[in-house]
Amino acid sequence: MIVTRLQRTVVRWLAPRGEAGGILDDLEEEARQIAGERGPRSARRWLRWQIAHSTVPWLTRRYREWRTDSWRTMTMMHRGWWLDSRVAVRRLAQSRGFTTLACLTLAIGISSVSTVFSLAYALWLKPLPYREPGRLVWLAARHEPSGTSASLTVDEFGFHRNGSQTLDDVAGFVYGASIARIDGEPVRIVAHNASPNLFRVLGVRPAMGRDFTEQDATTGTRLAMLSHQAWVRRFASDPAVIGTSMMLDGEPSEVVGVMPPGFTFPRGLEAAIWRPAAFNDANYGDRRVVQAVGRLAAGRTIAEAALEAETRMRTIGRPDAHGARWGASVSAAGTTASRTSQMSFQALLGIVGLFLLIACTNLAGLLLARNASRRTELAICLSIGASRWRLARALFVESALVALVGCLAGILLTAYAARALSTLMPAHTPGLDDVGVNGIVVGLTAMLSALSAVLIGLLPALSLRSLRPSEALSGSRTVVRGASRAQRALVGVEIALAVVLVLGAGVMLRALRGMVEQDRGYEPRGLVALNVSLPFSDDSYLQTATRARFFHGLLDRMRAIPGVRDAGATTGFPGSRLGILGSAPIAAPGGAQLVGAVHSASPDYFRTMAIPIKAGRAFTAADTTQAPRVAIVNELIAREFPGGNPIGHHIPVSVPGDETALFEIVGVAGNIRLSEHIGYRVFIPLAQGSPYWIDLVLRGDESVLPVVRQTLRAINPDLLIENDSSFRQIISDSLALQRTQSAFALLTGGLSVIVAGVGLYALLSFLLAQRRREFGIRLALGSSPRRLFRDAMLSALRLVVAGIVIGEVFTAVLVRALGSRVFGLTSADAVAYVGAGALVLVVALVAAAIPVRRVLTTDPLPALRTS
């Protein structure tokens, strides 16, 4: 032997399969020849040379062969999937009822999650249209004594703008409204005054025209930047709008640019027009009006910025005119999700997620039952050589197909449901227009479907592990029993989850009803409201006294309208979209420091709203502009005074446009609220603090509103009339989130009971079909049908009760964990638990009774014969 053992091994490794033996023989033979002619050393050298120089050709050939092979394998696999799909389609088409039910259940389950997501995405999750929104922060002042936040003064704004290490730049703006005339009708336009760097801080460039420059704020010429929407609506998308002049508050302003579509800032009070403004003492004094937004320097965090702002404020911090110190607060500006909405979203997602889980559980159970009746067929496949993996794949393709159809139907359903859902929200919710199906929603739906396919197909595929062809083919029942245990567990889980959803729906609905009907401190029934604003451009309303006289005259005219039983005016009733008038920092003798929101109120306001005056007096016609300044505080403030009696105390009230003055407290009004927040409220007479706008409240039904509008037009055609609606509508709008949540809970709760019922029905149909022979024998032996019915129902009852108990325990745990965070959950009491349990029990027993009765009323003899 000349070829060494090592060389043999190497050749066997490298040479193409099947050829190594022949090659080795040839090498050996030739090496012997060479050894005979030229000596063994030459032979060995020759061998080494041969093997070394054959390595590359061999490896190349092996690689080519491997590539061809694997490609062939892949094609085979591909063909296998295709075959499986075709078989699955045929199989699903055979049982149309099952397929329809399965696809529909899944579609509803998937689309409920997608719908909630599409809503949450449009309203809260979508990134805001600014450059790196995560680095934008709001800067506000914090009233040290009370901890409440407020806007900045011009001084503070300038201070934050200069010399900060953590912020690249800070921009500010002041909320404002202008009145423009469009088609002869005065229209309020939201027009904010902005520091010229605002758009640069936000990282957005105008789509047309130019950005503001620092000089724009100081030259004194009136300039305007249009929002895209304003450009489309008010200027009919005129491309030549740049450089034209528009009338704002009676003065011409030059349009310098148009912002890109989709740009809105700030969310919720989008400006139609931006005007450059210099924020200096001359314009704003020490009023807290500046909203400031900053951009974090690279690598800095909000916490660092907050710490720096706080520290720097402390160095300049001097008490304001009322002796209160102000700190700084910094919060993220790049997100729109408030804590409440985030929690609502999470709760909603939890509800629909549970429902999807029920749907999947149900489908898994149904498929399991289907496969149990196919065990003989599967066993035959196994015994003639199919691998378990191959069978599992065939089963899995079936569930994947159901999921695919469910996905497509789910996307369709989502499109409709999202539209329906957005009608539950108040019409002015920012971002509501974007609710619907988009790429992200489709992606999520597809992902959910894939997940569902796995969830549904997993158990049937796993059940193959226990499949013994010998047992299945010999008709043994043990396998069926094993599968039915899994099915029982699934139905138990379904019932438990259904209990959770029903209970949730029940308590949420009850809580919602409580919130609608709760005592708000006034009588919202038969109350309508609207905003009325005076034209800013009209110089005849410059004096507070003139405005007050005008509003009082207007109230008299309102009362004369038939159907209006009473009329009052205020600034900022609960839920009003107009702001408050000013603020009143109160140092109560008890030591409490608080800031009250200031509203003005006409003498009849409290009577019209049916707000009780708890102490002292209401305003009267005698509280005129010249009379001593008086105020009414709400009970929340009164509580802070010794003995709960603030009457006679003097409090400083600062109202924009007027100097801060001391007002004597003459009365205490009951607390009022829209939903949960009451807040510290200070009322001053309309005559002593009249702004350009009021909230008109009228006692009467909605039918008076057209006449009211007409009358207002007749008084002054330039009056701006907005937001006329009934209080019922205002309250209903304020509860939109809770209502959405309850609607979903109700819908999914109802559906989940039905789905669980269907699951139980299917399970019992299947189990009882297996037991027909047993029933037949028992009937033949003289057992009464009534007794059999009771037995069958009892076994179902055990399952149902177990499910209900588990569900209630689970709910109790949930309530404990999330109680205060999910709307309404805290009100879960014994009645709710028992009610939900009873409802599920009744539905489940009805679902169970149908198949049990059917089996018992059919003739058992054929069943006995076939076995």
Binding site: D26, S54, P57, R61
Partner: protein, 109 residues
């Protein structure tokens, strides 16, 4: 003749060797013959791969001969030209001859 049927020069050599060896065209002999005719050492890997490729193309076929009646004698795979192989060979060589018309190669090593 389609483009894929063009023979590489090494393939041409191997086919010519098989034709020349006739009944004796075993892998081992083919390799030795090629070495003799070209005067260069030939690796088994390269020669056998080409034989296998020509077989896959249908230009060669294999006949398994009975073991030789000596001790340790083994059956061998003998390569034979198929009809297609003969056609490919005559095509390639006739092209070569036509192309070489009027030129006699000088002495090559």
């Amino acid at each position: 003749m389609a483009k894929g049927d063009w023979l590489g020069d090494f393939e041409l050599c191997v086919l010519l060797a098989v034709r020349h060896l006739g009944e004796e065209a075993y892998g081992l002999r083919v390799r030795q013959h090629l070495e003799q005719m070209t005067g260069r050492p030939m690796a088994v890997g390269a020669v056998y791969n080409t034989l296998a490729r020509l077989k896959d193309k249908g230009l060669l076929r294999i006949r398994i001969d009975a073991p030789r009646p000596v001790q340790g004698g083994r059956s061998r795979a003998c390569f034979l030209l198929t009809a297609a192989g003969t056609r490919a060979l005559s095509f390639s060589t006739s092209v070569l001859i036509r192309m070489m018309a009027g030129w006699t190669p000088g002495h090559a090593k």
